[in-house]
Symmetry: C2
DNA sequence: GCAAATTTGTTCGTATGTATT
DNA sequence: CAATACATACGAACAAATTTG
């Protein structure tokens, strides 16, 4: 009695999926049919399907059936710039710059909030615990598919010193980097990205149309931008689903994609 | 009607976990106790626990109980070099260079294989479909915890032209980049990393001691290194568990960690 | 070292609810 | 509205892993 029956059924179905005998998008037999075919109870068949579900191989749709998941062809996001362009910031300031598919990315209206800095912002921006920060949150789509959720944090002090548009929910078309340099003389000379992976929360699951259980992971990247004095000037947090996104890092001399 | 009972139980337990009322590492009540407490059947309680499991909040241990997961303090891996060091390769050739914890990383013996190039290697290295490649596979530990699985692919041609040690299972201490430059004059001038996330296979789950279901994701990074003519000279594939690793990308002028 | 007790894991049967066609 | 298919829930029994006495 080594492997339990539900695993044997799952492994059998898995082999069929991986050999493409069951093609992506194709419907599996119904639970009743599988029950008869394997001589197990319906509950056991369901355990097998649940196993395949957490493995990300199939998805169930109530009233319809169980289907082999189609792997989406991924978006590609480049985290680095060409050599030399880095220090400037230039107009390629958009956080995640290059995007495949040659579809037009669009950005929602910016939701601006002024709030006491959350704990993780305090540590990353190296500011006083009781400082306020401006957060600018936006949703991004590529074509009609949701692409990323992004929030940038700035010290309120920047707005007080004259960078008013940080408080506006209008997009800063020329890019926040250039705006801050022109307005305040604060120059971004580099940034550090922290790439992490975690499960989505309810808001993210809703926006990206992914299941609320944890079976699809999310990239969460933290970009800390630094000014010429080595001080953090901005934190940008970006969340995007890991099943349809790849991140790219170029170092040194690399041919174009 | 609204939310099913197993979700209500799960949400209740989840709130206790997130408020630290149930601390990381702490044992939950047994299924029997929870059954009595919530007036549900044991199977329903088990559904609730399973939900929390796929969310990565708890883990069950047969014969022992259900426990709140402890979040591991992560290893940190830097994908980029300091400016200027890039083109050289130098002695900082180890794929994932900087590692936190100040524990000594160790590397297993290298498993060397000569094989027809797999499909994905063909496309990434831009070689003929029927070429052979040398693959060098190694396991890495930090202290005693498994850290990464890594495989590098080189065209056999490199060994034929004199870089014999690519075929040896001995480590190339000075680094493959320097070795290839000295031996063949092939100079690495840059690389591109593709960062992806996927579920572990059985071998990886065994090595990293993670569950075989898909609830812990894996980073899989593909590093394509380029020579001075813009041709791919090496592909390195690295796999590491996403629940205990962060990746870092530095661009421009950034203070040290 | 062994046996008992405890705890989770597997499997069945059955009934009813909900979503889709 | 009816048929189909998955979702939730209960109860029961035995198996397997671990700890305790």
């Amino acid at each position: 009695m080594g492997t339990p029956m539900y695993r044997q059924i799952a492994d059998d179905l898995r082999a069929m999926i991986e050999s493409e005998e069951l093609a992506p998008g194709q419907q599996l037999q119904t639970e009743i049919e599988l029950r008869d075919q394997y001589g197990a109870s319906r509950n056991t068949v369901r355990d097998a399907i649940k196993w395949l579900t957490t493995l990300g191989l199939v998805e169930t749709r109530p009233g319809q059936g169980t289907f082999v998941v189609k792997k989406l062809d991924p978006f590609v996001t480049t985290l680095t710039r060409k050599e030399g362009e880095v220090a400037e910031g230039g107009q390629s300031t958009s956080y995640l710059s290059k995007v495949g598919h040659s579809l037009t990315p669009s950005t929602s209206a910016v939701r601006v909030e002024i709030q006491p800095a959350p704990e993780h912002v305090v540590t990353r921006l190296a500011i006083d615990p009781d400082t306020e920060v401006i957060s600018r949150h936006e949703q991004r789509h590529i074509g009609r598919t949701p692409y990323s959720l992004q929030t940038s944090f700035y010290p309120v002090e920047f707005a007080d010193r004259g960078a008013d548009r940080l408080r506006s929910s209008k997009n800063i078309e020329e890019g926040a980097v250039q705006y801050l340099r022109e307005k305040l003389g604060i120059k971004q000379v580099g940034y550090r990205d922290w790439i992490t992976v975690r499960v989505p929360n309810l808001i993210e699951a809703d926006f990206f149309k992914v299941p609320t259980d944890g079976r699809i992971a999310m990239y969460e990247t933290f970009r800390i931008a630094y000014d010429g004095n080595g001080n953090p000037m901005r934190l940008t947090v970006t969340v995007l689903p890991a099943d349809r996104n790849q991140l790219i890092v170029n170092v040194g001399d690399v041919p174009d994609l």
